[in-house]
Each structure stands twice: as C-alpha cells, then as structure tokens.
C-alpha cells in the first residue's frame, strides 16, 4: 500500500518520516526515526517494553500505528535527560538503586514511571506497583525498581 508522510514531535524535536500504514509506531521510532531506546519485547502489548508517552499518556507503541501518530507529541526514553545531558531524577535513582540489570525493560519502565510522576508526584508504593503493572521485568524482582521510583519522586518533590 502507498506510504505516507507522518510528522510528529519526539522528545521536543520535529520529525518527518515516510511509512506504510501497517508500520507500527514502535518500528517507526526504532527504524525510521533511529530511536532504538524503546524496545520490542513482545509486539502485542503484553510486556510494556515499548512504552512511550503519546500526547501525555503512557501507551504501548507496538499497538499504535505510525500513521495515526501524525501531529502527536511523543516522549521516549531518549527524551528523559535534560538538553545538557543531566540525567532525569528517575535515571539517577535507577542507577543508584541498581534498578536495572539487563536493561531491556528499563526504557519502558522509566517512561511509565515518568508518566506516573507527571500525574501523581507523590505516589504510594502500591500506586507505583499499579502504575508499572504492565511492565514485565525478569531480572530484578521489582524491589529496586520500586525503591528507585519512590526515591525519584521524593527527589523531585524536594526541588519543587
């Protein structure tokens, strides 16, 4: 089928790509847009590795068509750092707490966590667990991930 031009903003930068309608946003971000930070763990919305923020909401990029993201505002893991490279508090806390081991689920969880803190700056442990219930991690057992998100929320609240 004929390809079409899709324009969106990713991590604050305007991008234009050309894709067929059957191209997922995940594949388009990873290949056409060259942003390989977002991972493909299952491609059917079951693992959360492909979580991106689309128009302010955390979604599985594998279940969004690239074509329907025309005009959208997207944040991926690559957009968490500040422009000067300063890590986001979540990134800092993940490193400090040892919340990443193999790192494959990490981008998706960081983005889901950012979406959580954007809407709920001081979540309880239960709220954190619930917010990342759709993100599978097979290495860490989640303890340190939850600690890191809680630590980041405290750090962010402190600077408010």
């Amino acid at each position: 089928m004929s390809k079409r031009v899709v324009s969106f903003t990713v991590n604050g930068e305007a991008r234009e790509i050309v894709v067929a309608p059957n191209r997922s946003l995940l594949d388009a971000l990873r290949t056409e847009a060259g942003l390989t930070g977002t991972k493909k763990g299952c491609d059917v919305g079951e693992c959360g590795s492909c979580t991106v923020i689309l128009n302010g909401q955390p979604v599985n990029a594998c279940l969004v068509l690239a074509a329907e993201a025309d005009g959208a505002d997207i944040t991926t893991v690559e957009g968490l750092q500040a422009a000067d490279g300063t890590p986001h508090p979540l990134q800092d806390c993940f490193m400090q707490c040892g919340a990443a081991q193999c790192g494959f689920c990490t981008p998706g969880i960081l983005v889901a966590a950012k979406a959580l803190l954007d809407r709920n700056p001081a979540p309880t442990t239960d709220e954190i667990r619930f917010a990342i219930a759709g993100n599978i991690c097979r290495c860490t057992g989640y303890s340190k991930i939850i600690d890191a998100i809680a630590m980041a929320s405290t750090a962010q609240e402190a600077t408010r």
């Binding site: 067929a20 309608p21 955390p58 074509a67 219930a133 759709g134």
Partner: protein
Amino acid sequence: MKDFEYFQPATLDDALALLQRYRGSGSLFAGGTDLLVQMKEHVRQPAQVIDIKKIPGMDDFAFDAKTGLRLGALVTTRQVETSPITLRHYAGLAKAATDFASIQVRHRATVVGNVCRASPSADTLPPLIADGADLLIQGPAGQRRIPVQDFCTGPGRTVLAADEIVTHIQIPAPPPRTGKAYIKHGRRAQMELATVGVAVRITLDADGSVADLGLVLAAVAPTPLRALRAEALLRGRRPTTEALAAAAQAASDEARPIGDVRGSADYRREMVRVLTRRALEQALREIRP
C-alpha cells in the same frame, strides 16, 4: 501485519460510507488494542482499516441524574477508571475498567471496543449488562438502540451488521440504595484475562429487601451470561447469608464454562459460586443509606 488501506474519515457519515463500500473486508479501528493484536496474530486481516478517532462528538462523557451516563465510542477504559462519576455511580464498570489491562492499554482501549470485541471474558460487558445499559448504533438506515444484554451472540460475534457503527453507550442512572461490584478472577493481581468475572448491581427497597438486581457472569459461557435464576432467588427477598449462598449456588449451576489452559470447567464453576457471593456482599456494602 499485512498491508492495508488506511482511512481517517472526518465524519460519521464518511465512516459509514467506507464501511458500506468495504463491507466484509474493512474493520473499524479505535483503540486498536484488540484489532492490532488480532492482525499481528493473523486472526483478522482487514484490507481496509477505518480509523474513527478523528470523528468529532464520539468521545462524549456526560452524566445526568435522570438519564444516566452517556459514553461515546471513543471513551477509553482509562477515562471510565478515573472519572469521579463512574467511581460514584457505576462502581462495577469502573472496577472492570481498572482491572481490565495495563495502564498503557487502558489509555487506548475503548469501552465500546471491548463491547464490540465480544470476548466471552470481556470485563466491561458484565457490569454494563448488570446496569441495564443500551448501545446506540448508527447504520445506513439510521439509528437503532439495543440492550447490551442482547448484543453478543457468540464468542467474538454480535448483532452489529458490517455497515454499522456503535456510537454510544447509554447506562441508566442508578436508583437510590443501589450498590455495584465487579470481581475478576485470575491467577495474578493484574494483567489477566478473566478466568471468571462476576458483576453485580443490587438495589434494595426501603425495608431492606432486594428490589432489583443484575447478576452477570463473564468467561463461563460463549457470551456474558445473565444469571436469571440466581436473580430470581433474591428478588423480593432479604439478602441474608443463606439467600446469598443460594443465589451463588444458582449462578454456579447456570454457568456453562469450558475448560482451557486458564482453568478447568469445574474450577470455574466453583469460582462462580465463591465470587458471586463475594460480589453480592461487596455490592451490598457499597449501598449508601
């Protein structure tokens, strides 16, 4: 996914025209959390995908104390999960939307999409049926209205014609002294297809006996199952422990579950009994005096 033609109609009429033109080979596309999965797994291969997300007016979310709640086709499960209206008046539906799937999916999946997918284990169907909801359907001949209870005809099958679109759900306002609950059974705390789901809407009259109720089961029949015999046992009676137990047993007897990798038929039947009782108890506790 196989190739397809992709349309983003700007009006409902345009969408209907596309459905008409591609009758049988086109699919409607809203949240995509069912459609795209089915396409990737080669269960459905539509040659045309008709995206309704650009159509204005399809995302209404309006509550009126007399006529109840009106949800447009584009209302997401996330909106239903978080709205103070649903949390207060449609607790069963809100719970179903919460337990439904990950937050990433809830932000995209629509309630109407979950209804139209008509999976036997769909979470939103039992509370909608228990609440007496209707669907508003637009077709080439105009609009029709059908109770959700009559919508599903089999696993993945509904009375919706290939050239029709469900535009709204209308859920009646709950009468006073009404409590609602939805319990979903699965092995894990979240991220589950229901092994069994039970939705209850129960209304007491002034003297504390059951004026009316809806008791609907998921995943134990080809379509959501309204446990009419169980309801009959409670209607007009006081909701005592014995009465609830009897209703739970009746619901279990009415269920027609199959066995599969998620659970055996016997176990599902037993869970209907346990969870019906728990859902009734929970719904009764929700009733504000």
